[in-house]
């Protein structure tokens, strides 16, 4: 044939964290969740990547979009927050972390394509969730993002109620991730969950076989 051999698709495709990410606030803290699939075109590059990245002791962010862009933003903000918290002599506010992420996302919005959800606990306002899509900054009771989030907008709209307990929030996150991972080809693997409150940030992995199943599985 007269075709050039361009090699497998995944050598030339951009590596994305396809993804489903979610963060939700409850009275006393936040719960963040993500899937673990990193894809390059049709290939899965990493099936166990933890997309919940710590920015500080009690502030985490959830990564989506281009894997390289998202990781870089998280690392830069991690550094900036360290400096900031030394300067003020105490733990930084969640809003400060979200603002730092937003500043990078907005300034480089033409070059970058990543969306980070920032969530954590601080002394001033308790548990908070911020969305930073495209360079905006908005606090929300909960936020979803990534390619898999489209499929679960209806579910989260229907199921979210104000005043849920920590356990209810954790169940909500796991159910949402499971539904999205079942429908989105770019989301899958295991589910990672982080629960942050005044005391600590607790990380948890839920294996694929332990995720909730639904009527047609």
């Amino acid at each position: 044939m007269l075709e050039e051999d361009t090699g497998p698709g995944w050598l030339s495709e951009e590596v994305k964290t396809g993804t489903t990410i979610i963060a939700i606030e409850y009275n006393g803290g936040v719960v963040l969740g993500s899937d673990s699939r990193v894809s390059a075109g049709e290939a899965v590059m990493n099936r166990v990547m933890n997309k919940l990245s710590p920015l500080h002791d009690k502030i985490y962010c959830a990564l989506s979009g281009s894997a390289a862009d998202a990781q870089t933003i998280a690392e830069i903000v991690n550094y900036q927050l360290d400096v900031h918290s030394l300067e003020i002599g105490e733990d930084p506010q969640v809003r400060s972390a979200a603002t730092l992420v937003r500043n990078i996302s907005y300034k480089y919005k033409e070059e970058l394509s990543a969306h980070l959800i920032v969530a954590g606990w601080d002394r001033r306002d308790g548990g908070q969730v911020f969305a930073t899509l495209n360079g905006l900054l908005t606090r929300q009771p909960f936020a979803i993002g990534g390619s898999g989030s489209s499929y679960v907008y209806g579910f989260v709209d229907a199921e979210y109620r104000r005043g849920m307990s920590k356990e209810e929030c954790q169940q909500f996150v796991v159910n949402t991730l499971s539904l999205a991972m079942n429908r989105d080809g770019s989301s899958g693997g295991v589910a990672y969950m982080v629960t942050i409150d005044e005391q600590k940030a607790e990380e948890k992995v839920i294996l694929g076989s332990d995720l909730p199943t639904f009527f047609d599985q």
Partner: protein
């Protein structure tokens, strides 16, 4: 909050839409929104009927190019009427679905329309079939379609049960349509539903202000 796929390749009036059909114990509910838009920017009709009756107990829902869908259903209605006179018996739901499938498959290069067919017949009771864009025919207990369906995959997977009662299924369908219309800007208006059982057909129309509301409305 990723950009969802908008059917910008569809020329002219498109039923950017949400359609669904679900079986319950003893019958089937089929329903849709009522908005028709041009280019996703202008609502050309607020009250278009997308639930078309092709025979006494067989309905279908249309998605995609409105002109294509209307032409195909008109042809299908004729075929079915002729077929049922020849066979001297009401047509089977699968016959209706097959007629649509043949038209879609044979003309796949020119057409851009997908269908959900639902109904009741003596042989197999309540059934739902989906004919996709290229002409694939598949039977499912529940199916959703149209641009708004992306947002309710999670909700439908989580909330649908195969043996609901008529009222439960109707409420489920209304909730699903309402959630999709709330997130998809090319779905909206009123909810048009038909409940089909052995006894007959009941039309249910729910105007926008009477639709179920959720936490943020």
């Amino acid at each position: 909050m990723e950009k969802h796929y908008t059917n910008s390749q569809v020329k002219g009036v498109s039923t950017g839409t949400t359609i669904l059909a679900a079986t319950f114990d003893g019958g089937v509910v089929i329903g849709s929104d009522s908005r028709a838009s041009i280019g996703g920017e202008y609502v050309s009709s607020k009250t278009i009927n997308k639930v078309i009756q092709v025979h006494d107990r067989i309905f279908c829902c249309i998605a995609g190019s409105l002109a294509d869908a209307q032409a195909v259903t008109k042809a299908a209605k004729f075929h079915l009427a002729f077929h049922s006179v020849q066979m001297e018996t009401p047509p089977l739901v699968i016959s209706a679905a097959s007629v649509l499938k043949e038209l879609c498959y044979k003309n796949k290069d020119e057409l851009q329309a997908g269908f959900i067919t639902a109904g009741w017949d003596r042989k197999k009771g309540a059934q739902v079939y989906v004919v996709s864009l290229g002409g694939m025919l598949v039977r499912q207990p529940i199916t959703i379609g149209g641009s708004g369906s992306t947002y309710i995959y999670g909700y439908v997977d989580a909330k649908y049960k195969p043996d609901m009662s008529r009222d439960e299924c109707l409420q489920f369908a209304l909730n699903a349509l309402s959630l999709a219309m709330g997130r998809d800007n090319v779905s909206g208006g009123v909810a048009n539903l038909a409940v089909i059982t052995e006894e007959g057909v009941e039309h249910v129309v729910v105007p926008g202000d009477k639709l179920p509301r959720f936490h943020d409305e």
